[in-house]
Amino acid sequence: MLDPSDARSGDTGFARLDRRSFLKTGLGGTLFLATVSATAGLSGCATAPAGQLGAVDTRMDARYQFRFLTRDDIQLFEALLPAMFGPTLPEQPQARRLAIASTIERIDAGIDNFGPANQQELRRLFDLLTFGFTRVTIARVWSRWSNVSTAEANAFLERWRTSGVGLFNNGYIALTKISNVAFYGGRDQWHLSGYPGPPQWAVDALPQFKPA
């Protein structure tokens, strides 16, 4: 456990996981984590944005150009989103895949505006979660994300939410916040929160909504 004074010292979020806190969490040595990003990069598959993926390959809209998320990150979210939004997702498989895919695209589009510093933080978090050794030792998720069940994904989220380690709470917040905003904030999901959208009378009256 982190001692409270340490948790409050306000060092860089996931950069800290590379250092002191990792020892204190009792999960392993600092040396390994310090090299995670580098190793993942060297393995050649993890850190390049997925770009424009084929529809068959990813089940995404083939026109969407990924600017931040990698193929591994996309698999991470494909595993996590059903645990976050499962009961609201369509049961029909194609519609369900589309709802997940469009949410992941909106997550990517949102992160694209975060700027370099927060993107770097998220890169560390996603690398930590998608790189095999740290996925097992830190997230305690035993199989690749593409093989993780919704129950297992939910258990992971619960562990990080209820953990006494502030960094894991922070990771939980980061994952759920970007997903929640992308999902519930999307026009296709407004009905899930009983939000009718901007008042129609105002839309009808305002010049910016009139066709040019």
């Binding site: 992160i111 505006n113 700027g115 502030g166 519930y184 999307g186 929160s193 901007p198 910016q208």
Partner: protein, 530 residues
Amino acid sequence: MSLTDRIAQGLEAGWKVTDATTLTDNQTHEADVVIVGTGAGGGTTAEILAKSGLSVILVEEGRLYYQKDFTMDEHSAYASLYQEGMSRTTRDGAIAILQGRCVGGSTTVNWTSSFRTPDQTLTYWAENFGLENLSPEAMAPWFEGREQRHTVAPWQTPPNVNNDILRQGCEQLGYSWQTIPRNVKGCWNLGYCGVGCPTNAKQGALMTTIPGALDHQARLFHGLRAERLVMNQDRIDHLQASAMATDGITPSGVTVTLKARHFVVAASAIGSPGLLLRSDIPDPHARIGKRSFIHPVNATIAQMPEQVDPFYGAPQSIYSDEFNFRHGVDGPAGFKLEVPPLHPGMSAGVVPGHGQEQVDAMASLPWTQSVIALMRDGFHPESPGGTVTLRDDGSPVLDYPITDYLWQGLRQAYLAMAEVQFAAGASRVRLVHLDSDWYTSWAEARAAINSIAMEPHRVRLFTAHQMGGCGMGQDPQASVVNGFGEHHQVSNLSIHDASVFPTSIGANPQLSIYALAARNSARLAGKLRG
């Protein structure tokens, strides 16, 4: 009501506005005054100086967005109008920072609450920072002038249900409440202030001082980042600035050099200390970036028997100062109670959760009410504020440790908010906290709040008000600028934004910034023309 857009008209009429993302060549420009930032402070300064006949260049890192772009849409607004795409936090990630990044700064996205600086705050500054010239009596005409300029008046329309529940709860408990003064003209009562006013009713910098300055030949560069103030001996010689690429985030490589007799920094309580630190501005007592305040905000949400529709209507119209100065100005942490608007994306991002629990919480959004508490930080030795420093890439970041003093205030605030909501008839209440259940009675909530863990990350914290970091004061050893915003060491540098506040305000700060910037700009104009 007029739907004629002030910005579109001005651009048509030949305002000198340059979108720096379109620049292809390095260039140099010169004016009497270069102003960094176009928010509450920069806009006010630009209009007053330009009207006095001085030539002015305004520099804004964000982009120029106006009515045509304001489509009441959360995703596009968060991406374009907010710092770091709405992902800005304190260094440890524990406090979410809501801050504008666009022409007009945070006044383009704020919820229009317009309070004078409380008398207690001004008196505290006089007694503790040698700022007797900012007494309530001395400042009154400046507040009055700015209230006219920004059309500030108590909201005459009945509050929406979200706000009325705060009023009802306070009434039931005998707590004081008041109607919020708002800076709006012909407001449609829609509820979309936070994503850019779609009707131009909001009288922020974008609809008032920025057009006023541009009408008087001021020149505006947007999409241009102020990198570094470059000194020549004991004066600033020029500002080195970087044009943004079309994404608005990464530099394009084109640089703009801006020369002036005088420089006014108004880049916010995070941006201004950041710019001064990057520039190695003389700081013999290491004061730049210190004593940063944020009105730390915590929140509770309630399920109401009646429909609330918290996404519609003027977002903030009722407040309570029952707890703000209850224990004096410098006792246990006081807090102001207000209400936030709840649109789906914002709600889902703010209230932590996943799975069925979150699905249920979101499904009941139309019956959801929320209260927020704004902690008055900086008035006590155990509330020394945070520190702005630079990351390796030169961007500013805020460290803000929460002291036990503030944790105690935050716990009291949870109690007050839950009590008010139950008094107003809530069927259940939960804290915006990782460990909170729904509580079905005030007694149950009180017991839970008294034992809940008050720790970073578990308590969900926010700030929409960044203040301090370039504090003003009489003593150069303890402050960065004097009471007129004039830098203690560099004679042609002034700071005209919330970064000069030596404590937090104890109220939403926009009118405090407008008024102080107006006062200090009138003096500056006199000196520069003299």
